[in-house]
């Protein structure tokens, strides 16, 4: 754990996440048992940069949970709610539960809050509640019967109304129905708690599901609270299983199963970008908390880079500014599109927004805007110029990283305007709806490639000098050039008569850009599998950098 305290408005799960990736959890998930019906989006492994995974609905995960519960019921001869409490307590580690339970069932039942410690002296401890005959596994515990003890005063609200309905778990700690209702609702809705203990001080008995259900059913908002409770249970199960991850998008309840990325070691060779299957935008990384596609760079490096950017945000903030001065006439120039080819309105000077160099040099093969000239670092002797060189180096990469993000956003904004224009044209000209769609595809492709490019700068910053880095940057440059060309084309003025030509050009360039992106992703992914990439810094799961 990284901190000694955490804010309680996170996922509400009080279990340590230490076990998540260290491989201590047994891999007992039977993939065949998932059942075809529950595959939301079946994915086959096609490309080196794609990982195999399944998207599971909440119902599919509940089915997996039920298999474990049935298994435990069968072995121990306990009822469904007891098996549930035991499994939740032991974080769904069936093997450990079986071992501990066989060792001492009473200790286990007490620890899981199924029985009160005193009950341990009673003869047959194991099947406390007889197996319910109903198929749903639902039964009314004996404690649900309203108590008829004479002068009852609720120890919480001090209500002493004689007609008051009361409830208690097997510990016989009795409270009024109203207090129970408020308590169960507050635990589930406000605290996101799936394990609801008895309200008495120091009592460790946990309310079984049928008890919770019986309290929630008469409530007006009951279905919602009960659903929330079910979701919390699924979330706990998913959090306890290394092969599963809950979709991080708000109010989504899908889960992704990705066994090939469940260990820390696997994250040095794969970038597990997955989608929950509920919505196209629900893309996230299975291996780290980044809620987007960070291919081609592996999780460890991506995280390191984001941390560096956070730590150095102030130094680098000026880069994000949307205005710069023309290097020729010093007039202010505003960037309002994704293209980096700038032309000064005043003096017509053409330059590159990223490096501020003349644009004429960008078209020629010898010039590369993406590569940082490491020589400046070698020349630096004293500490001050060394630190300046290292800042310059960082800014080189950060500048390009941030620029791709910004350009992607700007081109989407610009496209919104273009789309409007094209729709207008569709009305005034003979063009069909299909004929004006080529722009949309191109803009989407540019956006996708800029995300790849963005992360290639994070990767290049940490890549060790040498042939491999040179080859990586060649591919990066080729993709970047293709993207800038297409981007520029997308910003050319649109008139009805030039549409057929524009369409042809845009389509050709889109295909080319797609190909270049594919090359960067494939080659980088293959490099991870082959162990080709060496870093200039220690990265978890990789060899230490060679000192030079």
């Amino acid at each position: 754990m990284s901190s000694d305290y955490e804010f309680s408005d996170d996922d509400g799960d009080y279990y340590d996440d230490e076990e998540m990736l260290d491989g201590t959890q047994e891999d007992d998930m039977d993939m065949d048992a998932f059942g075809e019906d529950f595959k939301v989006v079946p994915k086959g492994k096609h490309k080196a940069y794609e990982v195999e995974y399944d998207s599971l609905s909440q119902a599919a995960v509940e089915k997996l949970m039920k298999q474990d519960v049935d298994h435990i019921c069968g072995i121990f001869g306990v009822d469904v709610s007891t098996a549930n409490l035991l499994l939740r307590y032991i974080k769904w580690n069936k093997e450990r539960l079986i071992e501990k339970y066989m060792d001492n069932p009473t200790t286990m039942l007490v620890a899981a809050g199924v029985i009160v410690p005193e009950a341990s002296s009673q003869p047959a401890p194991a099947p406390i509640r007889t197996h319910s005959s109903t198929s749903s596994g639902f039964h009314i515990p004996k404690s649900l019967k309203p108590k008829v003890e004479e002068p009852f005063v609720c120890p919480i609200c001090f209500d002493d109304d004689t007609s008051i309905q009361t409830l208690a778990l097997d510990c016989e700690h009795t409270f009024c129905f109203g207090c129970w209702t408020a308590y169960v609702n507050s635990k589930i809705r406000d605290e996101g708690e799936h394990s609801i203990r008895c309200m008495a001080e120091g009592c460790a008995l946990v309310a079984p599901d049928p008890f919770i259900r019986s309290i929630l059913i008469p409530e007006p908002g009951a279905p919602k609270t009960w659903d929330r409770f079910q979701e919390l249970l699924v979330r706990q199960f998913v959090a306890c299983n290394n092969d599963l991850k809950f979709c991080p998008y708000p109010s989504c309840t899908n889960t992704v199963s990705c066994p090939s990325a469940s260990s820390k070691a696997s994250l040095a060779t794969v970038v597990p970008t997955v989608s929950c299957g509920a919505l196209r935008e629900h893309m996230f990384c299975f291996g780290c908390p980044i809620e987007s596609d960070h291919r081609p760079v592996v999780c460890g490096v991506a995280r390191m880079w984001l941390k560096k950017c956070r730590d150095d945000s102030e130094t680098a903030n000026w880069i994000k500014s949307n205005t710069k001065e023309c290097t020729n006439c010093q007039s202010t120039i505003e960037k309002n599109g994704g293209c980096n080819h700038m032309t000064c309105k005043k003096c017509k000077h053409e330059f590159c927004w990223v490096c501020m160099g003349p644009w004429s040099e960008h078209g020629t093969a010898w010039y590369s805007c993406n590569r940082f000239d490491e020589k400046t670092g070698v020349d630096a002797r004293d500490a001050q110029s060394k630190s300046r060189a290292s800042l310059e180096r960082y800014l080189h990469y950060y500048n390009r990283w941030a620029n791709h993000e910004q350009s992607a956003k700007l081109s989407l904004d610009l496209y919104a305007k273009t789309e409007k224009k094209m729709e207008d044209m569709q009305i005034t000209s003979a063009l069909t709806w299909i004929e004006v769609q080529f722009m949309k595809k191109a803009v989407e492709e540019v956006d996708k490639c800029r995300m790849t490019l963005k992360w290639t700068y994070a990767m290049a910053y940490y890549l060790a000098k040498g042939n491999q880095k040179d080859l990586f940057e060649d591919n990066q440059r080729d993709l970047e050039k293709a993207v800038e060309d297409l981007s520029e084309l997308l910003e050319s003025p649109i008139e009805a008569e030039n549409i057929p030509t524009l369409r042809q050009q845009v389509t050709n360039k889109t295909v080319y850009v797609q190909k270049r992106n594919e090359i960067v992703l494939e080659d980088t992914a293959n490099g991870f599998v082959e162990g080709r990439w060496k870093w200039n810094i220690t990265v978890e799961g990789f060899d230490d950098p060679e000192s030079d």
Binding site: M1, S3, D4, Y5, E6, F7, S8, D9, Y14, I90, K91, N93, R96, K100, T107, M108, V110, A111, P117, P155, I156, C157, F158, D159, F175, G178, C179, A182, Y183, S186, D190, E191, M199, A200, E201, G202, C203, A204
Partner: protein, 164 residues
Amino acid sequence: MASISARRLAKELREIQGEGCPVGISLLKADDFATWWFSIEVMGESLYQNEAYTLQFRFDSQYPISSPAVQFVVTDGKQAPIHPHVYSNGHICASILGNEWSPVLSVVAVCVTLQSMLASCKKKERPTDNDRYVRTAPENPKKVRCHLPKSVSSANSFPDTIPL
């Protein structure tokens, strides 16, 4: 029907005014059902001899289903006791104020628990992560989950759980 919270607090207040507080604890101010202040002092021999501290209780409409927000007052020249479970901003790391809170516990029970927490202290020191915590802590101490070792619990402790 009055809310559970108001009815409960009214009853607790009546009891405090009728029977008084345990030794070393006294009610300073309770003009409404939102915020109460107590003075708390450790009796007998302890590291906190002759030191009086002010405890603030804030209640929301969920009280006593959910715990009150309890902290030492650190304004107007007042200070929080130096204790391994008390941060310099007055926040307290005690499990009965967090996940071991029971709706059966009362304001006075909390005061007594905190008084004995001070009484049993062996060494006056701040929590190890005090500076980091104080820098990032939210205003409401209830928003924070305490993970300090040996958190303070109430008198009745839970049966031993099986280490996983």
